[in-house]
């Protein structure tokens, strides 16, 4: 029996889809059988981040309505044979899937997979309620900003009210130079405020933008810093005790030259 984990945040654009794609891929690289479910109905995104947009025939609405068999709606990854995607529908009707249908869907998926990772839409409306309906565990993503941390606090409260206990936190887009000059809240500052368990930290890094452009999750690149961060997170999810990575940039010759021009 697999685990159903929802990736959520409250505030939009903080990195839920990026996190889902990378954790899912990293778990699959570790040999786990993984399915990622995009519940952002009307704003399908996970397919392009994973580079699978050209393979979609059916979607989540087709699957829950019985327009196709569940197996037919699952898209097999082109790189890893034990990784699948259940894409969101691009319908206008955001209420096309009910909470009961989500619970049923998650129950079926966890019979087949080791991990069911659910990418939640922004907000606390219908889409959020659906995304968490079938989940047993939650990952809350935030960035080191006042508004994102505030929304994370709200989401943690809502998750607890829905009896999803002890959500774990990922702090995304950390910029170590700004933390050093005191112009960005540090990991400790944020943990102090939210009082939840930290699952991992991810640096703000161009590699994310580049990998998203290509539709290749950054964990596939063994030299990527955020890739390493997400691989560490996946190992922690599997119960390994992996220390937090140091955010200090490894600066080689070119890094130094670049930073001269960038003025930092």
């Amino acid at each position: 029996m697999g685990k159903v984990i929802v990736v959520t945040s409250g505030k939009g654009g903080v990195g839920k889809t990026t996190t889902t794609a990378n954790i899912g891929t990293a778990l699959a690289m570790m040999g786990q059988k993984v399915v990622m479910v995009d519940t952002d109905i009307g704003l399908r995104n996970l397919d392009v981040v994973l580079g699978l947009e050209n393979r979609i025939v059916y979607d989540i609405v087709d699957a829950v309505r019985g327009n196709c068999r569940l197996k037919q709606a699952l898209i097999k990854d082109k790189r890893l044979e034990n990784m699948f995607l259940l894409p969101a529908a691009q319908t206008k009707d955001k209420t096309a899937v009910t909470s009961d249908q989500m619970v049923e869907l998650c129950d079926k998926l966890k019979d087949e997979f080791d991990f069911v990772i659910i990418d939640c839409p922004a907000g606390i409306e219908h889409g959020f309620k659906n995304a968490i309906a079938g989940a047993e565990e939650a990952i809350v993503v935030t960035t080191p900003e006042v508004s994102a941390v505030r929304d994370a606090d709200r989401i943690i409260g809502l998750l607890e009210a829905a009896e999803i206990r002890a959500p774990k936190l990922i702090i995304n887009r950390i910029r170590v130079n700004m933390v050093k000059t005191g112009d960005m809240m540090s990991v400790e500052d944020i943990l102090d405020i939210l009082a939840v368990e930290l699952l991992g930290i991810v640096p703000d890094d161009d590699a994310i933008v580049i990998s998203t452009n290509r539709g290749e999750p950054t964990v596939l690149d063994s030299n990527s810093r955020p890739g390493e961060a997400f691989r560490n997170i996946a190992r922690r999810i599997c119960g390994e005790a992996v220390p937090l990575m140091s955010l200090d940039e490894k600066r080689g010759f070119f890094g130094k030259i670049k930073s001269l021009f960038a003025g930092d």
Binding site: V146, R150, D153, G157, D183, M184
Partner: protein
């Protein structure tokens, strides 16, 4: 940031009080105290029961007239309790105040 802040930054003397993250943390703290006021009836009920139990060890109070609420203040939130006391229990007397002969 005022002129002195700019200068401090320029000379690399950015002090903790001027760091924007300090401002961010304080603003977050305040905003969350307000956000978290939205606590459930259930939580308030158990707070009320616990208060009755603790205070009841020292004095007899009017449980039905007891009022507990969270109110907004300028600098945050206050827990305000109005607890009518019916009778005070006799306290064990502190030995140190008994004069020795």
């Amino acid at each position: 940031m005022g002129i002195s802040g700019v200068l401090a930054k320029f000379f690399g003397k950015d002090t903790e009080s001027e760091a924007s993250k300090t401002v961010a943390k304080e603003r977050l703290r305040l905003v969350l105290v307000h956000d978290r006021m939205d606590i459930s009836e259930q939580t308030m009920d158990s707070l009320r029961e616990d208060l009755i139990a603790v205070i009841g060890r020292y004095m007899e109070i009017d449980k039905d007239a007891l009022e507990v609420s969270l109110t907004r203040e300028d600098e945050g939130v206050a827990l305000v309790a109005n607890i009518p006391v019916l009778n005070l229990k006799r306290q064990p007397i502190d030995k140190s105040v008994i004069p020795e002969d």
